[in-house]
Amino acid sequence: MPDRPLSPALRPFDAVGGWTIALVDSLGRFGTFFAEALGAIATPPFKARAFVDRVNYIGYRSLLIILLTGAFTGMVLGLQIYLTLVRFGSEAFLGPAVALSIIRELGPVLAALMVTGRAGSALTAEIGIMRITEQIDALTVMALNPMRYLVAPSILAGLVTFPLMTAIFDVVGIFGGYLVGVKLLGLSPGTYFGEMQTFVDLNDIMTGFWKSLSFGVIVTWVCTYKGFNVGHGAEGVARATTQAVVLSSVLILVWDYFMGSILQ
């Protein structure tokens, strides 16, 4: 039976209803996808080779960009915080200020954003191409679960590599601040590191660690989901890749606020 045309007065309600159903449907599929991934992680067999490959893909290949951004973030922070503190005669607190900014906030967030841009986008594109070239269907018809081969190793690798990348970012960033504060602006090395030990405690380090761990799950979840649910052809892959990077980045910043509020 053909649909009766809606009266103009009802069309906005129809549009809002359609949009709401699409949103709830999309969130449902997003959640179901994660539940299936957790099922694949929790049940044997564990795909060790795929996991090591993903650690290399997400972590090792992102190392250079992490080193570069970490160093320059620390250097910028060192310069700007020094120029601010010197006005109050408090430049001795440069070390803790740089360290706390990086360890609690900038390290996990910037490392996650960098890994998203480099590895997350590549992950979506790779899985998306596997989808459109029927490689994922090939796994399915071999009676093998694609979640176990493609998604579970990526999420586990995210859990391992994001904290590691963050730790490297933190160390390099603190040394970037040291280069500017101590070597360029003349602060004593003892003051820089000594005050840091006084003000930075394990709680600050754990805050950054929990954040990086959750970012690892968010980024790999979003990027693999977008790759799995790619549209048609090269345009579909390009769109999915952009969506994955944008959504991951937004979720990192939103989730960072909530984590920051909880882990004060």
């Binding site: 596997m130 070239t133 029927e134 269907d137 090939a138 399915t140 018809v141 071999m142 009676a143 093998l144």
Partner: protein
């Protein structure tokens, strides 16, 4: 035997399959012919269990697979081999690893036996010594042959071929067809093939089914199809232009 009863499938408002029914006898090569975009690949995906119908059912040796999920469906799929249109070889694995993949992951065959079986499978498709190459380093025809080797290395009971010769030159088309025929004689699997290759498929098919507007309009031995008086079948196998199109 594969039995399809009243299969109906729509995507949005477009109905692709309309109460389609077909029987595929065990051990036969059944070729599905029909125009591009006519739903042949969609039909094949229902047989494989990659798509679920809106109505109708697919029975494999009496077991209805349309309602199966998880392990029950995987048990049926373990009897399958599938050659996808583009080959669907894993890009990051060599040809040897691609062929070895279902043996290692699906059947858990010991490593030394895998080496022997992969070498034998690659030799059967005329690709001895090519195992170390990546799929991106070989030609389209070779990729199709690796895909056939991967589908057959597990010695499946039922093999699905989705346009295995599309985009190949006539010599390669015949080479692939004769390869399939030769392997079929050796392993006696049930084959369901989707193809456009007229008249070449008449040489290898036991039965040919013509899909038109979501239904099987004619099915029978190649000679019967070639002698068909059905206007749609005659037009398709003679390659006559469709004057109704574009009007």
């Amino acid at each position: 035997m594969i039995k399809v009863e009243g299969l109906t499938k729509s995507f949005g408002r477009q109905t692709v399959l309309r109460e389609l029914s077909l029987e595929v006898p065990t051990g036969s090569i059944t070729v599905i012919i029909g125009r591009s975009g006519g739903g042949k690949s969609v039909f094949l995906k229902h047989l494989i269990g990659l798509l679920r119908p809106d109505a109708g059912r697919v029975l494999v040796d009496g077991v209805e697979i349309t309602g199966l999920r998880g392990r029950a469906l995987d048990d049926i799929r373990r009897r399958y081999g599938v050659v996808f249109q583009g080959g669907a070889l894993f890009d990051s694995l060599s040809c040897h690893e691609n062929v070895a993949f279902p043996l290692r992951e699906k059947l858990r065959v010991p490593a030394d036996e895998i080496v022997k079986r992969v070498a034998s499978a690659l030799a059967q498709v005329g690709l001895e010594g090519m195992g170390a190459k990546l799929p991106g380093e070989i030609s389209g025809g070779m990729r199709k042959r690796v895909a056939i080797a991967r589908a057959l290395v597990t010695e499946p009971e039922i093999v699905f071929f989705d346009e295995p010769t599309t985009g190949l030159d006539p010599v390669l088309v015949n080479t692939i067809h004769h390869l399939i025929l030769d392997l079929h004689r050796r392993f006696r699997f049930t084959a369901v093939m989707v193809s456009h290759e007229i008249p070449e498929i008449f040489e290898i098919a036991d039965r040919v089914a013509m899909l038109y507007e979501g239904r099987i309009v004619e099915v029978g031995p190649p000679a019967a199809i070639q002698a068909s008086t059905n206007r749609v079948v005659r037009q398709f196998i003679r390659g006559e232009p469709d004057n109704s199109e574009g009007r």
